[in-house]
Symmetry: C2
Subunit: 411 residues, 2 copies
């Protein structure tokens, strides 16, 4: 489905008028190429809401800021709450969260985890959620999550949050390379891997059988179809894979097709269904959960309208007892989304052996605080901020169209 | 929900290299203000697919063109098939349809109606539809629609397609003005009107009671909430209105919330539920129909990825036996969407007394072919094209930011 990605990002820095140039908030929206210009235009359309505002007032009420941006009716028309404008709002909100965490001197996950339940509730827009999750129900989840918080903070700092790796599973690798990468993944301590599927069913059966033989019975091997199928095709294809015990099927069909996911899940059970990396907003996730369409919710750091929207997604998942296994990879998604997973582990979903963050070992060298994945787990970031800030040289060299990597000359 | 609209449009002209400057295709995307810049950037992102292409080849396979644009994976990432990029694709596709109809010397509705069933099928992307509508099922609908086509063409030319008017129903009018506008609507031959609701329930009850008294028992008076409610609130509010017999409730909640619409419909039946003006794509409409969530499908001319996507929506509605009552108003939506309704009446849904096109008497003077609504019905446009082309002076004076209406000087 994504034959020619050109990993890109709309990169946003919100500066303040203090003398410290580091007193700024950073975020990004991951894209896969030319659409980056459109995404940047959408972020610029939000400037009037941000420029000239009082920093401390804004940072003190980031739920209010997110609702202000969502509520800009002229821009809402372009969604609503979906796609380019939602991602633009997410860029602004996430940059402000980065700034707030930096000013507190904390990693973002800890900034979020130290909020009290009422403050967390204020981040969420409960409009369109109340048929599945009311503010009162969310409060109960958060009050429960506040018990034992200090112990869980210590636990995630000691043990991290488990990761799984997609590195071995891309289409087009030779069998030998697939086997080697699988062995390396296991040797590196990963307790789950994922294979891409959906191009050719016979090839998928062969690769999954090979992976199963390599990793042994019971080792979780997820498969990911990147939206390739309609309902009947998904069920037929997955029934071919079933003898080799895939762990979950990810993105079997269109990300907003709630009823199709539910039909596929009914058709392939007990195989688990996962989706969410292109889930547009809390309302999509609400419906997926209401319809019993998913076993695993895969939120993404830059697809929705920011931290508050993803807090809503975490609360919805907790209400329905579904684990959140964030999507990552791309540009900076690992660096950003880990904060949501650590926050989830501390304050919402609690300890849950089903929680795993995707890991792709790619592009981390460009980030000020690259992820640390050791023995198959993300280690808790301790540096201040939300993870999106890149190295100055990386931004300078890759900026489009002026950066040296675009000039054709050696960087 | 839309407190400060500033009616706008991203206006697209696709020129050819023939010597005739009128040999061009025009379309627009209706917006309500600042987002217009973002929408324009999205349309420009599609230029590489269009500029330099062979006109005749492209016009001969507009279904293929639409699929090519939908399939641009780098841009698809921004949706997928939703929001800003879908509307941009719609702009390009609709401009090309305008050009094709002009070259044929036909109004767009007739160009579409004269296609044979296989040609119409080729316009539709059946991906993600087949759990509700296969190509074979669509073929049956179209073959049925092809019988008696000439008679139906004659009939719609003689009688038009019924309209309903939203002119009396805006919030904030005095009771006296509401009554006067209702009387005028009836005197003008409209057999249905619509009131905006959702700001204050007591006020809505009073206004609906007043309208009911004015128009008499049985006269269809729809109400439109513009997405204001959650499920429980919608049901409670509508139960207050029920004694005054509203004809349908339009946009009770978030446009992509299939399950909420279904729950509301169950809660307020036999009151009809209508939605669609912000339905993002065929997959949303498919689910609304599968879930039994709507009684009326309200497609919009510029919200989805073009004529082909709306042909899919018409076919889905026909499959489920739901009438299509297009949304209009805004800038040029009446001029554009009427072509879909006439095409539907001739070739897909056939004669259906439930079909009515929205009418708002606003901004028609800027269009080369303004709609003709007489005795409560849209009259069949006979001039070539798809309806979006504005008068040169209107474009010149209103172009942002250079046009005279933006200069503060008298136009």
């Amino acid at each position: 489905m994504n034959p020619d990605p050109d990993y890109s990002a709309a990169y946003l820095t919100i500066c303040t008028d203090t003398e410290d140039p580091a007193d700024a908030g950073t975020s990004l929206v991951f894209t896969i190429g030319r659409g980056n210009d459109v995404q940047s235009a959408a972020i610029r359309a939000l400037e009037p809401h941000v420029i000239g505002r009082d920093v401390e007032e804004v940072l003190a009420d980031l739920g209010g800021m997110q609702k202000e941006l969502d509520g800009d009716s002229q821009l809402r028309w372009l969604g609503p709450e979906t796609g380019v404008m939602a991602m633009a709002i997410g860029a602004v909100v996430n940059a402000l969260w980065d700034l707030r965490a930096r000013r507190e001197g904390r990693p973002l996950w800890l900034t979020l985890a130290m909020l009290d339940p009422e403050e967390i509730l204020d981040l969420v827009d409960f409009r369109y959620l109340t048929d599945a999750l009311t503010r009162e129900e969310a409060r109960e989840i958060l009050q429960h999550g506040a018990e034992g918080r200090e112990e869980r903070i210590a636990a995630v700092r000691a043990h991290g949050v488990p990761a799984y790796t997609t590195t071995p599973g891309w289409l087009g690798y030779s069998d030998e390379k697939l086997r080697r990468l699988l062995r390396e993944a296991r040797d590196d301590g990963f307790e789950m891997v994922k294979l891409k599927v959906g191009a050719d069913v016979d090839d998928d059966v062969r690769r999954l059988a090979l992976a199963r033989a390599e990793m042994g019975e019971g080792f979780p091997i997820a498969v990911d179809a990147n939206q390739r199928w309609d309902v009947a095709e998904a069920i037929e294809w997955l029934n071919r894979l079933a003898p080799h015990d895939p762990y979950w099927i990810e993105e079997p069909t269109f990300p907003g097709d709630v009823l199709a996911h539910a039909a596929i899940r009914r058709g392939v059970g007990p195989l688990q269904v996962a989706t969410g990396e292109q889930g547009a907003n809390r309302i999509v996730f609400k419906q997926l959960l209401q319809a019993g369409a998913i076993d695993v919710l895969q939120l993404d750091a830059t697809r929705v309208a920011g931290i508050g929207e993803n807090v809503a997604n975490l609360l919805l998942a907790a209400k329905f007892g579904v684990p959140v296994c964030p999507h990552a990879g791309g540009v900076g998604l690992c660096e950003m989304v880990q904060h949501l997973a650590f926050f989830d582990a501390v304050a919402i979903g609690g300890e849950d052996p089903r929680r795993r963050i995707e890991f792709v070992d790619h592009l981390h060298e460009h980030f000020e605080v690259p992820v640390r994945v050791e023995r198959g787990a993300y280690r808790a970031p301790e540096e201040p901020g939300g993870g999106a800030r890149m190295l100055e040289a990386s931004v300078r060299d890759h900026e489009f169209p002026g950066g040296v990597v675009w000039s054709g000359e050696p960087a």
